[in-house]
């Protein structure tokens, strides 16, 4: 049983897509799929440092899953305000598992988080990109093209929440890509592969491969 923090934003079309699919794949049936965990969410206007830090310090958060803009050394919240910066002391995150669906943060911020005590980090060392319909459907989570990409990332969350170690989760991601990629168009294949090859996790150097929630 663990306290879980979800951070999501919806300030532009791309983050709205992320928001819609993370809701569909992870949060919508959270209490049914992962009944032993308690979910705290810090979304949209509340996806800012003061609120996020407050939740972390007031609860025993063991897993943080966040979606938003990232740079190599920082993750930002709603409208670009910095939430975590590699230049700062991040030891208050000690013992947590962190997964960031954002661009680039796997390169530097993730390593710094692990150096400061985060047990395991999942993220991407370059931009996380996904193709979607130029005329998005009314319900963004109905976009079958965008689903291809965001489902891959949701495997990480569902694996961690199910108490899996990093290798079975990474294997599941790899199996997913192997099953889906033959069916895609060339441009979709290139984009999905680019996300896959830049995924970093505890099975490489970003934390302990044996840690579970």
């Amino acid at each position: 049983m663990a306290d879980v923090l979800g951070v999501d934003q919806n300030y532009d079309l791309v983050t709205q897509y992320g928001f819609a699919f993370r809701h569909k794949f992870i949060f919508q049936k959270f209490s049914t799929d992962f009944p032993s965990h308690t979910l705290y969410q810090s979304n949209n206007a509340k996806a800012v440092r003061s609120v996020i830090d407050g939740i972390i310090t007031k609860n025993s958060i063991r897993y943080i899953t966040a979606m938003g803009h990232g740079m190599y050394a920082a993750f930002t919240g709603q409208n670009g305000a910095i939430v975590w910066d590699a230049a700062e002391d991040l030891s208050y995150l000690k013992g947590t598992i962190v997964h960031l669906l954002s661009c680039q943060t796997g390169a530097s911020l993730g390593r710094k988080m692990v150096a400061d005590g985060v047990s395991a980090f999942w993220g991407y060392t370059v931009n996380f990109a996904f193709r979607h319909e130029g005329q998005p459907p009314t319900e963004l989570s109905d976009d079958t093209t965008a689903a291809i990409y965001l489902r891959m990332d949701a495997i990480i969350d569902r694996g961690i929440l199910a108490g899996k170690k990093s290798q079975p989760i990474y294997d599941s991601v790899q199996s997913y890509v192997a099953r889906v990629i033959p069916q895609l168009t060339p441009a979709d294949r290139a984009t999905l592969l680019d996300n896959y090859v830049h995924l970093v996790c505890p099975s490489t150097t970003w934390g302990s491969p044996s840690v579970t929630l």
Partner: protein, 154 residues
């Protein structure tokens, strides 16, 4: 072992290709002419795989691996690749923005950070395709249809 070995080993039947996709650019020859997946199959696929596709004549020294291409050549390849993709789709980059096909081509031409990412993605894809072809992991797409996503394992 490459970045893609694990994926290629796990692929059951290989990349499904229709006739249009056989013409997808994946490299250039010495004169700058586009090399397609079909060309790579004709030269580098196992014989049984070559036989599954329409035969075509390609001289073996014509197909240059994408890893041998210079920056300008990669820009040309990426532009050709993008122009062959579905113009109705757009690319979202989390927290950065949304890009149409013409936007992406401009970024490639202007060598912006986004353009450089596109070039790297297309280069990686070409390496993946060549490895899949060499491994015989390509197959003819028998019919159209939508993508079937597997259920979550967890």
């Amino acid at each position: 072992m490459s970045l893609f070995t694990g994926i290629i080993e796990r692929m059951k039947d290989g990349i499904e290709l229709n006739d249009d996709e056989l013409e997808q650019p994946v490299s250039l020859d010495a004169s700058g002419k586009v090399i397609t997946i079909g060309d790579v199959i004709a030269v580098k696929a196992p014989l049984n795989v070559q036989c599954a596709f329409a035969p075509r004549v390609v001289t073996t020294n014509k197909v240059r691996p994408v890893t041998e291409l210079g920056k300008e050549e990669l820009k040309g390849l990426t532009t050709a690749f993008l122009k062959a993709s579905d113009p109705k789709k757009e690319l979202g980059i989390v927290g950065v923005g949304n890009y149409s096909l013409p936007d992406l081509i401009k970024h490639v031409e202007n060598e912006t950070a986004i353009g450089d990412r596109m070039i790297q993605a297309v280069k990686n894809y070409a390496v993946f395709v060549e490895e899949a072809v060499r491994s015989g992991k390509v197959t003819r797409k028998e019919k159209g249809g939508h993508v079937v996503l597997p259920e979550f394992d967890f």
